[in-house]
């Protein structure tokens, strides 16, 4: 879902869904890289069965990275992709299935968005080159220095679209990669690899969903399969929830907003292209020795645990006193559905629902009301109950007016605050207009050297006065010398201020004009007039828009729960209607056109590419995009308007592109089909998923036998050979076979001479038309342990709650030996931490909401060099040195479910309480006597952050085995 705000909102509201990945890095020994042994248990203390890769999320950053130098050629791109997959494989270590899905031809509903993206990319590219050229001229005229222009051709990211040669090569390379790893990497030995390349229609993540959906609908499916899906799109969360699999985890790159990007002109970080001065590069390190190192660290990964999200949702959605038993699974489906209102790839979002403004919370509240009133849920198995949806929409519609007004207020408030902040920052930079000097110069408070008594005060005052006059006289002289142009001359304060004034004015960027003014009365009329160019009285037109939107909601939900209902359907407008327009929608949708077919890859390229990307198409096809006599020339404007639609940046706006008329497109293409080369014909055809196995896989011999007997008919997989995975096999035309060497498509990689992998065409299990995939938990599914603190924990009179940070409840805590504590306390005591402010929490990352610190926090202080030298080599820290007895317990409990709480027992002894304390306290520990207290502080802090329900101090007042906190403490927990 193209809503970056969604993930941010989710991870802030439901912080515990995120777990940081533990990644074991390959070591290097004498210049030889030792690969990580992925057959070992997963260092994340959880075992995954299936890993699904939404490949487009990998291809894009690997081919045109934003934070590092771009690969030089296609081969390097492929290698980067391989390395990325290796990295993911190492982190996740799937034991059964690795599913790689590249986006194929998408449904029409999605193609409009793809089209818009590609047209924009092309337009932005052109604009960037123009601006670059202009700025270059300017900077060089001013005498700035710029690195010589690169001759390198710009990588057109538009080639990452099914049907291009690039995608075809990629598929080829991935086959080689899979064969290589299956033959050479022990971790891959028993893994079934499925590759669904761009020739198979469907978006990557939806191909994955289709696979999961079809597997779990057949009787041999293991209901406790642990799925791990890789991808950054927020809609993967929706998809994961929609499967109703209890063990579903998403892995993605850590979300770091506002990463600095190098200037496109001079390659330095810290300014944008329009502010480029062409200043010489700052040296990196004393002798510029770090010049080539990228300033950014490698992107780290996080897990998103959907089972935890389900726990949160259960809390939020559970409704008491319903006239029927509450079904959590159904309410999850409804929640997913409501998230679509806020944004999805297929429909523009409703103007009144903005995720930042708490739209989802608002919807959930309304939803509960509606369920109570109507006695039922909004959706079932991906089919929508429109009557109930209308009630929700009407409830939103009532508030619409206020939402718009509030939005305007917030916006103004924000602008005002920003303006004040800028002013303040400037004032700070400038310092006071006049400063006393000499003996009267201001002195910092609390410094060791106290100011001495003032001597000869009158003389000093005279000096200061005269100095000021002298400055002014000098400034005047300089001004006159320069012919009355002060900016060229001295640095007088008056001049300074004049400059500032100018700078301030230029700060207030011209606001994009907003003709709709949703916050003023008559907004609806203006909206329809400006956005749709119709009068508000034109009921028919408004109905048409609403009807299309209703169809859209049905289509999207069906897409997520049952697969693509219609390849043809799309939302034919650029804007959404208002929630209050959803009246009498019950009869607006019946069903979609049946048996629609996706576009062929090259046809699709014609539908999503701008004329500027025509080089990916055969010449006669290309000319249809630019010739004035082309019968489809209207699809390819060379420039188009972007309506900011109340947003600030062009990329948030709506690209006003015409829609493609499928009939005319197909008609125009019939004339040029004959011009395709055989190679292009192949690229234009629909492909099949391919399954790869290594020699030791139980299914291997079965497949090998198929090839030996050359049985060219569909063969079902015997369920017992492949973890209950079903599907239909068919011989590949150009298969990867054992003992048949695989040639490398990339010059820098070796051919595989000893191949032991086998590949075969694979088709998902088939279900009859009209089969409805049930959105329910499967029987036999075991729910994972709860992670969130139960609401009645305090009442249970048990131990204090211990938040869970990783997958394993009994994860080993980092730990410091007693002697370590002594050393630490000793050294810290002597340093500035011993002062009176040492009880104030250290400037930690907690406050910044950086979830990473929550389980790594314990490690961080020790990375300071001072502590390092004190504790010895830092790596030793990572090996926990538990007292023996405890260690044994821990070992027994690894991966064990609930056999007793090692941590709790440990916490009962004073000594280990200290250990906990130290392992968690993340700033420097305070002076000796207050360990215990700091522990409480920390605990409190934690709870306040992770779990805001209930007063925290209760935990402390209930009886536990802790000694009373030392009397000296200053912390007040209320």
């Amino acid at each position: 879902m193209g809503v970056p705000a969604f993930f941010r909102w989710l991870s802030r509201k439901y912080a515990s869904i995120i777990v940081h990945c533990v990644e074991e890095k390959g070591k290097e020994c004498n210049g030889v890289r030792i690969p990580v042994d992925t057959t070992k248990p997963n260092p994340n203390e959880v075992e995954f069965d299936n890993l699904y890769l939404d490949m487009n999320g990998i291809i894009h950053p690997c081919t045109h990275p934003e934070d590092k130098a771009a690969p030089k050629n296609e081969d390097e791109m492929m290698v980067a992709i391989f390395e990325y997959i290796d990295r993911l494989f190492n982190i996740v270590r799937p034991r059964r299935v690795l599913y790689m899905a590249i986006d194929g031809v998408a449904p029409r509903a999605k193609m409009n968005q793809q089209r818009s993206r590609r047209f924009r990319a092309s337009k932005e590219g052109v604009e960037l080159t123009e601006e670059k050229a202009r700025m270059r001229e300017e900077v060089i005229q001013r005498g700035g220095y710029l690195p010589p222009e690169e001759i390198k051709e710009r990588f057109d990211s538009n080639c990452i679209t099914p049907g291009t040669e690039f995608m075809d090569n990629l598929a080829q390379c991935l086959r080689y990669y899979v064969a290589d790893r299956l033959s050479n990497d022990p971790g891959w030995k028993n893994v079934t690899v499925l590759l669904s390349d761009a020739s198979v229609p469907g978006e990557g993540e939806h191909k994955i969903m289709d696979y999961i959906r079809r597997q779990r609908a057949q009787p041999n499916h293991d209901p406790n399969t642990h799925h791990c899906l890789c991808g950054a799109d927020a809609d993967l969360i929706m998809l994961g929830l929609a499967t109703h699999e209890p063990n579903f985890t998403i892995i993605r790159e850590e979300f770091k907003p506002n990463k600095p990007r190098p200037c496109a002109l001079c390659g330095q970080i810290g300014h944008e292209i329009k502010d480029c001065q062409g200043a010489p590069r700052e040296k990196q390190g004393e002798h510029d020795e770090f010049a080539d190192t990228m300033p950014v660290s490698e992107q780290e990964f996080i897990f998103i645990r959907l089972c935890v999200l389900r726990e949160y949702l259960a809390r939020e959605l559970t409704m008491a006193s319903l006239p029927f038993p509450f079904d959590f699974e159904r309410s999850v489906d409804d929640w997913v559905f409501m998230c679509f209102f806020v944004g999805n790839d297929f429909l523009p979002h409703l103007p009144s629902l903005e995720i930042r403004e708490g739209a989802i919370d608002r919807l959930v509240n309304i939803y509960k009301d509606v369920v109570h009133k109507t006695g039922g849920y909004l959706t079932e198995n991906g089919y929508v109950n429109l009557e109930r949806v209308e009630l929700i929409m009407q409830a939103v519609g009532v508030a619409e007016d206020n939402i718009f007004k509030k939005r305007k207020e917030d916006d103004e408030g924000f602008k005002r605050r920003m303006k004040e902040k800028r002013k303040r920052m400037k004032a700070e930079q400038r310092g006071p207009a006049y400063m006393t000097t000499g003996q009267f110069a201001p002195q910092a408070l609390g410094r060791r050297d106290r100011p001495e008594a003032v001597q000869n005060a009158r003389h000093q005052a005279y000096d200061m006065r005269m100095q000021h006059n002298k400055d002014a006289a000098q400034f005047l002289k300089a001004t006159m010398k320069n012919g009355g142009n002060p900016s060229a001359g001295a640095s007088g304060s008056a001049d300074n201020r004049a400059m500032k004034r100018k700078a301030e004015d230029s700060d207030s960027e011209p606001e994009p004009e907003d003709n709709v003014r949703l916050w003023e009365d008559g907004w609806k009329q203006r909206y329809y007039k400006t956005k749709f160019d119709v009068d508000v009285e034109d009921e028919d037109f408004r109905k048409k828009v609403v009807k299309s939107y209703v169809e859209g909601l049905c289509w999207v939900l069906r897409y997520y729960y049952q697969g693509c209902a219609s390849w043809k359907w799309y939302f034919p407008f650029h804007y959404a209607p208002f929630a209050s327009d959803f009246k009498d929608i019950k009869g607006m949708f019946t069903d979609f056109e049946k048996d629609t077919k996706p576009f062929k890859p090259l046809e699709q390229l014609m539908g999503v590419f701008p004329a500027a990307s025509g080089n990916f198409l055969p010449p006669t096809w290309r000319s249809l995009m630019s010739s004035p006599d082309s019968p489809i020339i209207d699809f390819y404007p060379d420039d188009f308007a972007i309506d900011l639609n109340g947003k600030k940046y062009a990329w948030q706006g709506v690209a006003l592109l015409p829609f493609v008329d499928e009939r005319r497109l197909r008609a125009a293409l019939t004339d040029v089909y004959a011009d395709l080369t055989p190679e292009e014909v192949r690229r234009n055809s629909l492909g099949s998923d391919v399954m790869f196995l290594g020699k030791s896989h139980p299914l291997f011999d079965f497949i090998h036998e198929l090839y030996r007997t050359e049985s060219h008919e569909d063969t079902e997989i015997p369920a017992e050979l492949c973890h209950g995975i079903l599907g239909t096999l068919n011989l590949d035309d150009n298969p990867i076979l054992p003992d048949k060497p695989v040639t490398s498509p990339i010059p820098m990689l070796r051919d595989i001479s000893q191949n032991i992998a086998i590949g075969v065409k694979f088709k998902d299990p088939h279900f009859a038309d009209g089969f409805v995939f049930k959105a329910v938990l499967l029987s036999g599914a075991k729910m994972p342990n709860k992670v969130l603190k139960p609401g009645d924990w305090e009442k249970g009179n048990r131990e204090p709650w211990r938040p869970q940070l990783g997958f394993n409840q009994h994860r080993q805590q980092a730990h410091l030996d007693q002697s370590g504590f002594r050393a630490l306390g000793h050294s810290l005591n002597r340093n500035q931490h011993g002062g009176q402010y040492s009880n104030a929490p250290p400037p930690s990352n907690y406050q910044q909401g950086n979830y990473r610190s929550s389980h790594r926090g314990g490690h961080q202080p020790f990375q300071h060099s001072r502590q390092n030298s004190l504790l010895g080599a830092p790596p030793s820290y990572h090996q926990p040195q538990y007292p023996r007895q405890q260690q044994q317990q821990q070992q027994q409990q690894q991966y064990g479910a609930s056999r007793g709480h090692g941590w709790d027992r440990a916490a009962q002894s004073q000594q280990s309480a200290y250990q906990q304390n130290m392992s968690r306290g993340q700033g420097g520990a305070p002076a000796g006597g207050s360990y215990q207290q700091r522990y409480h502080d920390r605990q409190d802090d934690w709870r306040g952050r992770r779990d805001t329900r209930g007063p925290q101090h209760q935990a402390y007042s209930s009886g536990r085995g802790y000694p009373a906190p030392p009397p000296s403490r200053r912390y007040n927990w209320n």
């Binding site: 329009k274 003709n515 400006t530 119709v534 048409k544 004035p628 489809i632 420039d639 188009f640 972007i642």
Partner: protein, 313 residues
């Protein structure tokens, strides 16, 4: 009085006469097209059908698709703000000549320079000024809306300057008509108008244009003979008329002009109308009845020279 009717009426009448054609052309309507957009595009298709002789109603063909495509190019340009390669743009400009779209939306592409923020180069500012802001008022107030100064056109104070003269002329015409026995078809309209103008110490300006020289007339109008006359007084437009020869055209134009004087008063206003395929500001004499129809395109445009003189002095 066909000259006075808007293009919509002509199209409606034409389609009324050819119901099958109407049905056929309706199949090309896009689902998302509003009435306004579709009416305009339909006019474009109908007007240009002759230029595509291989297009036969009811028969799909590639030349039909080309026509449809160009109609979409035109509509996308007018309603969405898309631009196309120059050759295509020239073509649709020619084909779309004479189609009046009232209150077309104004969209800004980067070429207009509005999105190129931050940098305030001279070109950007010129473009931004040249951009006509979309009118906020409804379409019925369209005629009176204030419009920023164009590069050529009447001065904003011009209506006020001309109004006193036309008040006098109104009185003169009223008395003249009373003495002639009231407004009717059997008068010498031009003579009445001329004598009244001269009694107010002004002369009428008549411009004649042969009909065949007027581009962009609806395709259905096959009559190529005849002349069109436009009457102005003090640069203010009064009426247009068509006739077999110049004097007939002049008579018709005077009749149209006198019609304006049938109301309770006459007003001089600045209005937008077409002139040589472009939208221009013109001074018009109007009665107080609200007009729902557009104006016939101007045949002359007296404000360009004035502008030049202003510039040189």
């Amino acid at each position: 009085m066909a000259e006075e009717r808007s293009n919509e009426d002509i199209v409606a009448e034409y389609l009324g006469q050819n119901p099958q054609l109407a049905q056929w052309v309706e199949t090309f309507r896009g689902y998302c097209e509003s009435n306004k957009q579709w009416d305009a595009r339909r006019e474009f298709i109908l007007r240009n059908m002759e230029a595509f002789p291989t297009v036969e109603p009811g028969v799909p063909s590639s030349s039909l698709d080309r026509l449809l495509s160009l109609s979409m190019v035109w509509a996308n340009h007018v309603f969405l703000g898309c631009s196309y390669p120059q050759a295509v743009m020239d073509k649709i400009k020619e084909m779309g000549e004479g189609i009046v779209v009232v209150d077309a939306p104004v969209h800004k592409t980067t070429k207009d320079g509005v999105l190129a923020r931050g940098k305030r180069s001279a070109t950007v500012e010129v473009d931004a000024d040249g951009c006509v802001k979309r009118a906020k008022c409804g379409s019925n107030e369209l005629d009176s809306r204030p419009v920023g100064r164009q590069k050529s056109g009447p001065l904003p104070q011009a209506p006020a300057e001309h109004q006193p003269f036309f008040n006098r002329l109104y009185k003169a015409v009223a008395w003249k008509l009373v003495s002639a026995g009231g407004f009717g078809p059997n008068l010498d309209h031009f003579e009445i108008l001329r004598s009244c103008a001269e009694s107010c110490k002004e002369t009428l300006t008549c411009v004649f244009v042969p009909l065949k020289d007027i581009a962009g007339l609806p395709a259905g109008r096959t009559q190529k003979e005849g002349h069109v006359c436009e009457i102005r007084c003090q640069t203010v437009y009064m009426g247009t008329g068509y006739g077999r020869d110049e004097s007939a055209a002049k008579a018709m134009a005077s009749k149209e002009a006198l019609k304006v004087f049938q109301g309770r008063k006459v007003t001089v206003k600045i209005c937008r109308r077409r002139y040589k395929g472009k939208d221009v500001e013109d001074l018009m004499l109007l009665d107080e009845q609200p007009r729902s129809q557009g104006f016939p395109p101007a045949l002359s445009y007296p404000f360009q020279d004035e502008q030049l003189e202003d510039g040189s002095s």
